[in-house]
Amino acid sequence: MSTGIPVQYFLVLATIMFFTGIYGFLTRRNLITMLMSVELILNAVNINFLAFNRYLYPHKLEGMFFSLFIIAVAASEAAVAIAIVINIYRRFATINVEDVNEMKH
């Protein structure tokens, strides 16, 4: 058990990452960058799970496994998302999210 870094540090890091991800999601206009922001959010979650598991509940591995699954799912999600982004680029000739608003109101 690594004793050097207290659990709070991880949690703070995760929180910062989470909100950075959200901020990025809300502000970056490029769809790919937005996708990266989502990955940030998911990774923040991963850090949370891992830290909790390691520090608070070291006898079980639920958190570890959960983050593994998250990584896998995130990968597939990204695959589908990028496929659609490519289609967007074909149709709209841009990947600026603001231009993708044919439907509103």
Binding site: L26, V97, E98, N101
Partner: protein, 639 residues
């Protein structure tokens, strides 16, 4: 005890006649309807006479008094255990007397109409309506309870409406019928409220228990008070309001002159002899309550009667339409009857006014019907209602002339005609009660003689008028009723009413009071004299007089502008100030509120559409904000 149960057929026969003529008459026997209706009425006239004879002369009196006999009674509608409307036949002196009056006059009018209405469009309809009226009127007088009376009260109102508007294509007739109905309806509202108050306190509608002098209604009714008057007084005032309306007393009299738009026989029957006296009959019917439990209300009756009689008499002096003169005269005479009731007491000689009133009602029915039928004959001959277009008719219409003269003399109170006796009793009763009222009535007696003879002289004497085609005497169907009624007018004065129709059913002695009789005859003669001077020959004096008293004449000629007042109230107040604002309010406030709810919803829907911007990142922002807001809400604010 004599069985009177057959009397139920007296009102029912005309009812079936109405249904029969109304449904089938038009199609199958338009010509025969008159005969059928008349025959039906003849049968019930005979029945009525038999009933009167049996009632007055063969029925045993109990304790010297005529009994109220309930000949027939059936519950028609049950309200509560105690309150129920019965339909039935109540026989007592006044109802039996009214039976005679109604059937006699009605029969005369039927016969008369056979000639008068011959060839009119809607001949069968006319007789159907007459039957309806006879039914309603008979039902009214025979009512065993006040609610039955109210039912038939409404029915006579509607038959009057139908008959006034008989010439339904004539706008003035339509207006008049509408007016008559609505004005009386308004008065009936009072009647109904009176009934409700009365029944609330006494828990009964039944006349016998209501008018029993020792019954609870009278002995306990005066207790509870409201605004200083006892409840019983209030209810009687309201009930009297109905009577005021139907009997065309001031201020609900305005419908009566207009009602002359109806066919003349109708005016004779309904608006002279029978229906308009229903108010008097109503007060007479409720008389023990008025006299014993609601003296204030009785005083009101007296004053309303007195005022109406002089008011109408003054107007009558200025009118030129002969039917309108007669109409105002009717109003004036009914005022007499009301006054007589108002000054009467209950029981014995105290009840002189009551007896006089009924007496006058009886005689008035005869002579006023005669007057109207005579007027009808004149109109029939001249095709005009206006005195100005008549004159010198005595040569052309001898029978009409004679009978009309008899009627005029009767109404003027010239002995020994019937009007003299009845009017004399009234004046005597008034004299004993209230000098002021007596003075008024005394003046009215003079005025009556004056305007009647003004009418008589202008029509039968006066200037020689050129007619388009020579007037000729009416057919026998019309003259026979005139003659019969003239005989009636002469003779009925000798009926001993004080033996038969009295306030408590017991006979009392009354004799001619010379102190009253002589002056009243004198003033009658004076009136006739003045009329003779002014109208016997064509003269300029009336116009001069009219010019001298320009304003008063104008006011009287315009009926003291009562019509205008009513017009103002209906048009300006009810229509403009209530109905239209209500309609406006309904559309623009109530309805608009409902519509506003809808449009606000739609407006909000339009305003918030920017929320759905189509921008993915804004969606994300709302998502995050929403989650955080919920978290804050439930962690810090509303835990």
């Amino acid at each position: 005890m004599i069985n009177f149960s057959y009397t139920i057929w007296i009102p029912l026969l005309p009812f079936f006649m109405f249904i029969f003529l109304g449904l089938a008459g038009h199609k199958y026997f338009p010509k025969l309807s008159g005969i059928l209706g008349t025959c039906g009425l003849a049968i019930i006239t005979v029945l009525s006479y038999i009933t009167a004879y049996k009632y007055f002369f063969t029925t045993e009196k109990v304790d010297g008094a005529f009994q109220k006999i309930t000949a027939f009674n059936t519950t028609w509608l049950q309200f509560t255990d105690k309150l129920h409307i019965d339909l039935g036949v109540l026989l007592d002196p006044i109802s039996v007397m009214m039976l005679v009056v109604i059937t006699t006059v009605s029969l005369m009018v039927h016969i008369y109409s056979l000639g008068y209405m011959k060839g009119e469009k809607g001949f069968e309809r006319f007789f159907a309506f007459l039957s309806l009226f006879s039914f309603s009127m008979l039902g009214l007088v025979l009512a065993t309870n006040i609610f039955q009376m109210y039912i038939f009260w409404e029915l006579v109102g509607v038959s009057s409406f139908l008959l006034i508007g008989f010439y339904y294509q004539k706008p003035s007739a339509v207006r008049a019928s509408k007016k008559a109905f609505i004005v009386t309806r308004f008065a009936d509202l009072g009647f109904l409220i009176g009934i409700l108050i009365l029944s609330f306190n006494t828990k009964t509608f039944d006349f016998i228990s209501l008018t029993d002098p020792s019954g609870t209604a009278i002995t306990q009714g005066s207790g509870i008070g409201f605004l200083g008057l006892s409840i019983m007084t209030w209810s009687m005032i309201f009930v009297f309001m109905g009577g005021v309306g139907k009997s065309a007393m001031f201020p609900f009299h305005i419908w009566l002159p207009d009602a002359m738009e109806g066919p003349t026989p109708v005016s004779a029957l309904i608006h002279a002899a029978t229906m308009v006296v229903a108010g008097v009959y109503l007060v007479a019917r409720m008389f023990p309550i008025y006299a014993l439990a609601a003296p204030v209300a009785l005083n009101i009756v007296a004053y309303v009667g007195a005022f109406s009689s002089i008011f109408a008499a003054i107007i009558a002096c200025t009118q030129t339409d002969i039917k309108r003169v007669l109409a105002y005269s009717t109003m004036s005479q009914i005022g007499y009857m009301m006054l007589a009731l108002g000054v009467s007491g209950y029981g014995g000689h105290e009840g002189l006014g009551y007896m006089a009133s009924m007496f006058h009602l009886f005689t008035h029915a005869m002579f006023k019907a005669l007057l109207f039928l005579g007027a009808g004959a004149i109109i029939h001959a001249v095709h005009s209602n206006h005195m100005t277009e008549m004159g010198g008719l005595r040569k052309y219409l001898p029978i009409t002339h004679i009978t009309f003269l008899i009627a005029c003399l009767t109404i003027a109170g010239i002995p020994p005609l019937s009007g003299f006796f009845s009017k004399d009793e009234i004046l005597a009763a008034a004299l004993h009660h209230n000098k002021l009222l007596f003075a008024v009535e005394y003046a009215v007696a003079g005025l009556t003689a004056f305007y009647m003879f003004r009418l008589y002289f202008s029509v039968f004497w006066g200037k020689e008028t050129a007619y388009h085609h020579t007037p000729h005497e009416a057919p026998a169907t019309m003259t026979i009723p005139l003659i019969i009624l003239a005989i009636g007018s002469v003779l009925t004065g000798f009926i001993p009413f004080n033996q038969l129709v009295t306030s408590d059913g017991r006979a009392f002695e009354s004799e001619l009071e010379l102190m009253v009789a002589i002056p009243s005859v004198l003033i009658g003669l004076l009136g006739i004299g003045i009329a003779y001077i002014l109208y016997k020959k064509e003269s300029a004096i009336p116009d001069k007089l009219a010019a001298t008293f320009k304003y008063s004449y104008k006011w009287a000629y315009n009926k003291f502008y009562m019509d205008e007042v009513y017009l103002f109230v209906t048009k300006k107040i009810i229509f403009k100030l209530i109905s239209e604002p209500v309609a406006w309010f309904d559309r623009n406030v109530v309805d608009a509120t409902m519509n506003a709810i809808a449009s606000v919803t739609q407006g909000v829907s339009f305003r918030i559409r920017g929320f759905q911007s189509g921008q993915l990142q804004k969606y994300g922002f709302v998502f995050i904000t929403g989650a955080i807001m919920l978290a804050i809400l439930f962690i810090y604010l509303w835990k």
